[in-house]
């Protein structure tokens, strides 16, 4: 059974207008019907550009944002239906690492206090007294001692030492702060960690250190990750399965190698062709599909296929009227578990449909 299974998840934010009378004049459909499953011990990478709803999806899983519709099954329980108290209890097993390490660490709390907070909230640590209410100074000392032990262990796992306990976030470098953020998640021994842009605020050399750390921790502790990032190269590097989001919906989902080898959705293809590769020979030789224009507003998404307004492979009326489902390809068995939300995926793959040069701003063929 999958550790996390999201079914038709919807998160809509109301757009309000009016000073005296508050009226809702529309909705931003940040996440609009996403279904995906994350297997235990694996990494699911969610990639997309700004405004595609990937961060909102991550926050909705943790119920940091209200869910409009759909279900979030975590280890057999539907998180969407839990009340606030049970959800808080459940969060011990679901932790999050945020993008901006400085913004997500309280500047007035020292590292020890930041890491202890979760343990205190969930009442972790101390001897089991068999249901008897814990009492007395002696007991508190024991609890504190054990909590401190757990915190130091978590810090050491991420490559910091106990010396960090009494220091404050501003005393650390960006990479070290992100390590503290990871330690804060680890200290509760969660099953699933949601990493929202874990490395995008870091320098390249530090980025690689943090990515390697995440992989090591997964190997040691059997963690499951949901990694959310805009950088396809980073996501592909860390993930077993990659999902590509566009304007609130999942447009393609595949094993990370399959996705690179045969991207099926036109959006994935253009996204992939836009990611710079640090190799001049590859850069000069490959095809670049430049999309025209910007992402449409999620408050007023295009009808039918969300991507049809920018799609170089756009075909008939159907693209503009019927929203494609995420499906497996028909008659192409070698694509396996690869799923794509495009009406014409088979014919695009076989080359029957060619991109139109006017719709792509320009397709640059390599020399």
């Amino acid at each position: 059974m999958s550790l996390l299974r999201i079914e038709d998840l919807k998160v809509h934010f109301p757009i309000r207008q009016g000073v005296v009378i508050d009226r809702t004049i529309g909705h931003v459909r940040a996440v609009d019907g996403v279904s995906l499953a994350v297997e235990r011990g694996q990494t699911y990478g969610l990639v997309g550009e700004s405004g595609c709803g990937k961060t909102t999806l991550g926050r909705a899983v943790l119920r940091l944002t209200d869910i409009t519709g759909g279900a979030v099954w975590f280890d057999g329980r539907d998180l969407a239906g839990l009340d606030a108290r049970s959800m808080r209890r459940e969060r011990r097993r679901l932790q999050m690492v945020f993008q901006d390490p400085l913004g997500s660490l309280n500047p007035r709390q020292n590292v020890g206090s930041i890491l202890m907070e979760g343990l205190r909230t969930h009442g972790i640590g101390g001897p089991d007294r068999g249901g008897e209410a814990p009492r007395g100074r002696e007991h508190r000392t024991l609890v504190l001692h054990e909590q401190r032990g757990r915190v130091v262990q978590a810090l050491e796992r991420v490559g910091l030492s106990a010396k960090a306990l009494t220091r404050y976030p501003h005393e650390f470098s960006g990479g070290q702060r992100q390590r503290i953020g990871i330690a804060r998640a680890l200290v509760l021994e969660p099953d699933l960690i949601i990493c929202d842009e874990p490395v995008s605020a870091l320098d390249v050399s530090i980025q690689a250190q943090v990515l390697n750390l995440l992989e090591e921790l997964q190997g040691e502790l059997g963690l499951t990750y949901l990694v959310i990032a805009h950088d396809l190269a980073v996501v592909r590097h860390v993930s077993d399965v990659v999902g590509v989001m566009y304007l609130g919906g999942l447009v393609e989902e595949a094993d990370s190698d399959d996705l690179y080898r045969t991207p099926l959705h036109p959006y994935t293809r253009s996204l992939m062709s836009a990611v710079p590769v640090p190799d001049p020979e590859v850069e000069d030789a490959r095809e670049r599909i430049l999309l025209a224009g910007d992402l449409p507003s999620p408050a007023d998404p295009p009808s039918g296929c969300r991507f049809h307004t920018r799609c170089p492979w756009r075909q008939d009326e159907r693209c503009a009227t019927e929203r494609p489902e995420l499906r497996r390809l028909e008659g192409v068995p070698e694509t396996g578990t690869h799923r794509v939300a495009c009406h014409h995926a088979e014919r695009i793959l076989s080359g029957q449909i060619q991109p139109s040069e006017e719709r792509a701003e320009r397709i640059v063929h390599g020399a």
Binding site: S50, S173, S205, H237
Partner: protein, 352 residues
């Protein structure tokens, strides 16, 4: 490199920040490079390497107080050469916008939020080309159209917040190219943008260089962007260039351990999965001063005692010519190949 005289030759540029009661900070510590027309030169490095300060110094945008700028930056003009670092403020104002232009990282903070785009573009045309009224507006609309902004006459009346990020960056590029500058400095022009928009902007810059013969100085941390766009590349570390080469040489045969480390740190889209990254140990804070030896030595896996005996010089590498590096103990290719991935646990080890 071509034999023509360069458009701009920067020689031993240094920028030192002084604060009362604190040690001076050498942000740029002797950087030399040349820019040629129709070519893109890249300055690559991580935060704190001095790449942005270099561009601000060249444009004369650093404050007077507390900063001392050394070295020279000689710009070739039709009426003789001038040293950008020695020009008066007034003369510099005439050059900026007309001969020199700059594109910044964050388009929202480089545009005035309370002035419509149109007025910001026509301001340049009025100041440097003496156009006014309807002619300036028509020229502005034409500029926006050329950089790929649809419906430019409507956009001219809009304010920066009404434009998307990619559109704002295009508007800035339109302003930069308004007077057909001979030299353009782009400081992380695509860092704030999504990849598909980044691809559009890079294509636009590439076209400008090819069509107008502009010299472009591209400042970025992204080696992927460099690989696709730059002709010559300078890798900066702690205020000095540690390696310089034409792009094919740099990527095929990097010799400085820092360049090797940077390349090993990037997850590549086309790499087989499961290939571990080989990052550089530690962080930029672990430097030593260049005066005492190689600033990179504390993070280098391949350093010898010779590295700590005085500042290393920029010397030609074994393949010679225009491939130079600042390293006394470069590693051979064979060694680089069977390099073991460094343990991440000791990375960025606590500094007491």
């Amino acid at each position: 490199m071509s034999s023509s005289t360069p458009l701009l030759s920067v020689d031993e540029l240094s920028v030192v920040f002084r604060r009362r009661g604190a040690d001076e900070t050498r942000a740029v510590d002797g950087v030399s490079f040349t820019l040629e027309e129709g070519r893109v030169t890249g300055l690559v490095g991580e935060s704190g390497c001095g790449k942005s300060v270099t561009s601000l110094a060249l444009m004369g945008l650093l404050p007077d107080r507390g900063v001392s700028v050394g070295g020279s930056a000689v710009l070739r003009l039709p009426d003789g050469d001038v040293d950008l670092l020695a020009l008066s403020q007034k003369r510099m104002r005439d050059l900026r916008g007309s001969r020199l232009a700059m594109i910044f990282q964050d388009p929202l903070s480089s545009l005035n939020p309370v002035v419509p785009i149109g007025r910001q573009v026509t301001e340049i045309l009025t100041r440097h080309r003496g156009l006014s009224g309807g002619r300036a507006r028509r020229e502005a609309a034409d500029l926006l159209y050329r950089v790929g902004i649809p419906d430019p006459t409507r956009r001219l009346r809009e304010y920066p917040h009404q434009l998307s990020g990619g559109m704002r960056q295009r508007a800035l590029i339109a302003m930069a190219v308004a007077c057909r500058p001979r030299l353009m400095i782009a400081d992380e022009p695509t860092t704030a943008l999504d990849v598909t928009i980044q691809a559009q902007i890079l294509e636009l810059l590439r076209d400008l260089v090819v069509e107008e013969g502009t010299a472009l100085l591209m400042i970025t941390h992204d080696l992927g962007v460099v690989a696709g766009l730059c002709d010559d590349i300078n890798v900066l570390y702690a205020g000095r260039a540690v390696e310089r080469a034409p792009r094919s040489r740099l990527f095929a045969d990097p010799t400085h351990p820092y360049t090797v480390g940077l390349l090993g740190s990037i997850p590549r889209l086309d790499a087989p999965r499961g290939e571990a990254l080989t990052p550089v140990r530690g962080s930029v804070n672990d430097n030593i001063a260049w005066a005492d030896g190689c600033a990179f030595a504390p993070r280098c896996d391949h350093y010898a005692t010779a590295c700590l005996q005085g500042p290393p010089a920029l010397v030609p590498t074994e393949d010679g010519g225009d491939h130079v590096h600042r390293c006394v103990n470069p590693r051979a290719d064979a060694e680089a190949a069977d390099e073991e991935p460094g343990g991440a646990a000791e990375d960025e080890e606590e500094r007491a």
